[in-house]
Every structure is written in C-alpha cells, then in structure tokens.
Symmetry: C2
Subunit: 148 residues, 2 copies
C-alpha cells in the first residue's frame, strides 16, 4: 500500500469508531492512533455515556495509545480522526508530541484552526485533512439532522 492507501485504510477504522458513537447516540466522531502502521489506540466520542465533556474520541485514543506503549509521548505515531480536532484535543495532541495528524471533515465552528493562532502541535508535526472527508462529514450531518 502507498501512503494514500494507508491513510484511507486507517481512516476507515476511525469511521468504524464513529459509527459506534452514532449507534450509542453520541456525536459520531472516531479516532485511531497508529505506530508503524499498527493500531495502538482507538476511541469514539463518549461525552454523554461518561457524562464528561473531556471524553472526546481523540482523548480516548491518545490515552489508550499511551497505555499500549507504556509511555505517555507518542512521537512516532499518527492520529487519524474523522473530524477536525477541537481546541482541547489539539492541545492534547500537542502535549502527546504526535507528529502526524490526519483528519477527515472540517469543523468550521469548533475546529482548532478557526480558534488557534499559533498551532499547539509539535513544531515538526504535519497535518493532512480531507481524507474520506465526505464520509466523515456525512455521518455527522446524518446524526444532527436526525436530532432536529
């Protein structure tokens, strides 16, 4: 697989996580942390279930990945997340030292890039957006249209 195929592969796994959130009536966002093309952490939004605004998909996946590695820094890892991270998650990604962030749909209201002036990511981190962007956006639209 080339890098584009790898990114699509792992974004599909993040989308599977988003679907679990959808089925649990949670805002459908999913995330996966990989290291050496292996999944070492995954998660989906659990803010309602856990009654905890900090329980975003990325936070779960980062905490899970640190547990897997036995160390809290994730320098050699990639984070795949179906929607652009919010400011909280962008801050967590920065602290984790994750070097590559790949996301699907943009979040024009709550996404970090709308709010943050200097990026809180690691200085050498790279960001790729729009991977399976339409599918990632569609599950969100579907969720919120069902809510109205």
């Amino acid at each position: 697989m080339n890098q584009e195929e790898i990114d699509i592969h792992f974004m599909r796994i993040a989308l599977d996580e988003a679907k679990k959130a959808y089925e649990a009536d949670e805002v459908p966002i999913g995330a996966v942390v990989t290291c050496g093309n292996r999944v070492i952490g995954r998660g989906h939004n659990l803010t309602e279930t856990l009654n905890d605004i900090t329980a975003h998909a990325e936070m779960q996946a980062i905490t899970a990945a640190a547990n897997t590695l036995g160390g809290k820094y994730l320098q050699d890892c990639t984070l795949y997340v179906t929607v652009e991270p919010c400011v909280m998650c962008a801050g967590a990604i920065g602290w984790s030292q994750i070097k590559r962030i790949v996301y699907g749909a943009f979040d024009q209201k709550r996404g970090y890039s709308v709010i943050v002036d200097k990026t809180p990511f690691h200085p050498r981190a790279t960001v790729l957006s729009g991977v399976l962007g339409e599918e990632c956006a569609m599950i969100m639209r579907d969720f919120f249209s069902r809510k109205r």
Copy 2:
C-alpha cells in the same frame, strides 16, 4: 467574606492540591471547581502517575465536578487553578461552559492566552488572574529548580 476573600480562600485549596502534586513529584498545579461557594471538584496534575498527558489538574477537577453534579455542564461554577490553563484545558473549560475562571500564576510559554486567538471559553465567561499569583508561581519555580 467578600469576593476577594472568597477567591483567596478557594485558591488556597487549589494550592493545597498543587502541593499534593509536588509531593508526588508531579508538576505542581492544582485546581478546584466551586458551585455556590462549595467545592464540588478538585484535582492535581497526575500526568506521570497515570502516564497520561491529558491528566492535568483542571481536567481532573472538571470531571470530578461533573460527577458530583450528575450533569456535564458547569455553567454556574467557578474554576480556580494555580497556573494559567494550557490550550487543552482552555478547550475543556469552554466545553464545560464554566462561566468564571480564576487563576494564579501566568504561563508565558504554554498558557492559552499566548496561543489562542479567539478564546475557547463560554462567550459570557470572565477571567481573573493573579490571585495568590506569587505563591502559585513559587511552587512551580521551586519544583523545576530542584529538577535541574
């Protein structure tokens, strides 16, 4: 007690939390969430102990407060924290809808106000800084000078 005395009172409790972190060899930051002048959540930095970069004092205190209230929004609460929140914690404070943020020492490197363009806090949230600022800064300086 007037508001200034109330703020100093609760910042002392946050400082007690910071001291617990110090004694556990954690970066000494403490936080308290109050509601109607009662402490409903408290926490100190546990990133080393939990091997988790998301385990900041504010995150613990917010999660604890939501548990106490049985609801995840903290609109009528005040957060006291010994050091200016980072971007991650500022984002969490925003999601929690906390309306009043009181902090002690500034963080000129990692504090949210250095990095964030638009504040991620609730639009009607107020911020008071410098409460017991010197004491809050001193425990941090002491910790890091001992580490060198």
